[in-house]
């Protein structure tokens, strides 16, 4: 069987199909642990994991923390707003100081694309990218793939539509890399101002109308409109965006009758997804994604936590 020989998990772009399969299969085995009365196994006893988060996060940080704890590792959370970062310490200095305390894995979220790659070459610890700018968010793509596999039984051959702000979405980028490798047909839709130039070069079909993307789709993945970027005037108003790009009962009928709806969260109700779509457990798998996220992160921590060579 394949083994994971990488020191770090930096992005879907550099994971092989075999490695993705290994991570997903390992995660499927871990899923059951979260359903036990005693949600803990002793596997990573004595390992320490630092969650270093330079950007706000509820889901991802909690998910990594719970994942570490369920494997019996010690998890430490650092958020930039309450750390020496506010005193002007650079990322490199912070990393060197953390390295000196000898943790085993550092999970990093940073607003600058490439920040985890920089640290990976700098410190001996394993680095997991928990989101770097608009670049990649590999653990999100992996949990999305795990959810698709759970609901659809496969990834290859499915039509998967990603709708929203493709340009600024690390979730979209990681999913495009990963889903393409796994043989899915990926289509994207969003306003022209939010569509990267030459997006077709990533191996996807691009549309400006949501309807064109979701027709006959097996999976509709809605992306969050990053309200914090509203001041950049990428679209005239939230209301107009919602009118054209909100997933609702009417346009969702264009997808396959057994299509599922995904969203990486946090959702803006009534902006990119209407509440009755988001809350209908008949096809919305948004909370399954969250549950699978813990299992995927357990798998990553487990597979990366090497021994003392």
């Amino acid at each position: 069987m394949t083994k994971l020989t990488k020191k770090d998990i930096l992005g879907m772009a550099d994971l092989t199909v075999d490695e993705i399969h290994l991570i997903l299969e390992t995660a499927e085995s871990f899923l059951e642990i979260s359903t036990r009365d005693i949600k803990k196994v002793p596997t990573l006893r004595g390992k320490s994991i630092i969650n270093l988060f330079y950007e706000a996060s509820t889901r991802t940080r909690t998910s990594f923390e719970i994942a570490g704890k369920r494997l019996s590792a010690d998890t430490i959370n650092i958020s930039a707003s309450t750390s020496s970062v506010v005193k002007g310490e650079t990322l490199i200095d912070t990393a060197r100081n953390l390295e000196a305390m000898n943790p085993d894995i550092i999970v990093l979220r940073h607003s600058a694309a490439g920040a985890p790659h920089l640290l990976a070459g700098l410190v001996r610890q394993s680095i997991i990218n928990a989101g770097d700018g608009a670049h990649e968010h590999p653990s999100q793509a992996l949990l999305d793939m795990m959810t698709i596999r759970e609901k659809k039984g496969r990834i290859a051959g499915l039509k998967i539509a990603l709708v929203g702000d493709i340009q600024h979405s690390r979730v979209a980028r990681s999913n495009i890399y990963g889903l393409n490798k796994m043989g899915a047909r990926v289509v994207v839709a969003g306003p022209a101002t939010m569509m990267p130039r030459d997006i077709e070069k990533m191996g996807v079909e691009a549309f400006t109308r949501i309807e064109d993307a979701i027709v006959d789709a097996d999976v509709v993945m809605m992306l969050r409109i990053q309200l914090e970027r509203q001041k950049q005037n990428l679209f005239p108003s939230l209301r107009e965006y919602a009118q054209r790009y909100c997933l609702n009962r009417t346009n969702f009928k264009l997808a396959k009758s057994d299509a599922i709806v995904m969203h990486p969260g946090p959702i803006n109700r009534g902006v990119e997804i209407s509440p009755d779509i988001a809350d209908d457990s008949g096809f919305s798998v948004i909370l399954d994604q969250v549950a699978n996220g813990v299992a995927v992160r357990m798998a990553l921590l487990y597979l990366l936590s090497g021994g003392n060579e």
Binding site: S29, E32, D37, V41, P42, G306, N308
Partner: protein
């Protein structure tokens, strides 16, 4: 490189079946029936033996005895040191273990470390009333104070011998072999 030779078959298909029949009766005798009794097979060899024992016990008693599957990878005492981690299999214990009498089933009892890990794992699922151990082969060389309650065959072996339990479900034939490594 070590050359393998002299593969000896120590138990054939009928031998395995007779052993399991005897163990099934022994389990029922010792526990005075199957009330509160469950079977848990250890991945992977133990699963098939547990399924066969389940069939035999259910046939004798006329009702189904519950069976679960345990993967012990995450409880291994050498897991933290492994540079490349083995991928764990799924654990399925579809019933509450509290106050149950659990018969753990494995193919070969050797150092006892697998059983130690299995007991830790079981206790994370509840507090069983009792844990018993059934193995097809006991080959000795224990490294922990563990012994089996039900043994198919005691097979005194040297450390440089390899004992393999081949089962129809996994290897296409039922056979226990002992192989010498020189």
């Amino acid at each position: 490189m070590a050359k393998k030779h002299s593969v000896k078959v120590v138990m054939d298909s009928e031998g395995i079946d007779r052993c399991l029949t005897r163990i099934a009766y022994e389990i029922l005798e010792k526990n005075k029936g199957m009330d509160g009794l469950v079977i848990v097979g250890i991945r992977t060899g133990g699963i098939y033996l547990a399924q066969r024992l389940q069939k035999k016990i259910s046939a004798i008693e006329g009702r189904e005895i519950p069976m679960g599957i345990l993967d012990i990878t995450l409880y291994r005492d050498d897991i933290a040191k492994a540079t490349q981690k083995p991928s764990p299999g799924k654990t399925q214990i579809p019933f509450d273990l509290t106050e149950k009498k659990v018969v753990l089933v494995d193919d070969v009892l050797f150092t006892g470390r697998t059983i130690r890990a299995a007991m830790d794992a079981l206790i994370d699922f509840g507090r069983p009333k009792m844990i018993q151990l059934a193995v097809l082969i006991d080959r000795g060389h224990r490294e922990l104070p563990i012994r089996a309650d039900y043994v198919g065959k005691n097979l005194p072996s040297s450390l440089w011998e390899a004992v393999s339990v081949n089962l129809m479900e996994k290897n296409g034939k039922d056979e226990v072999t002992i192989e010498e490594d020189h």
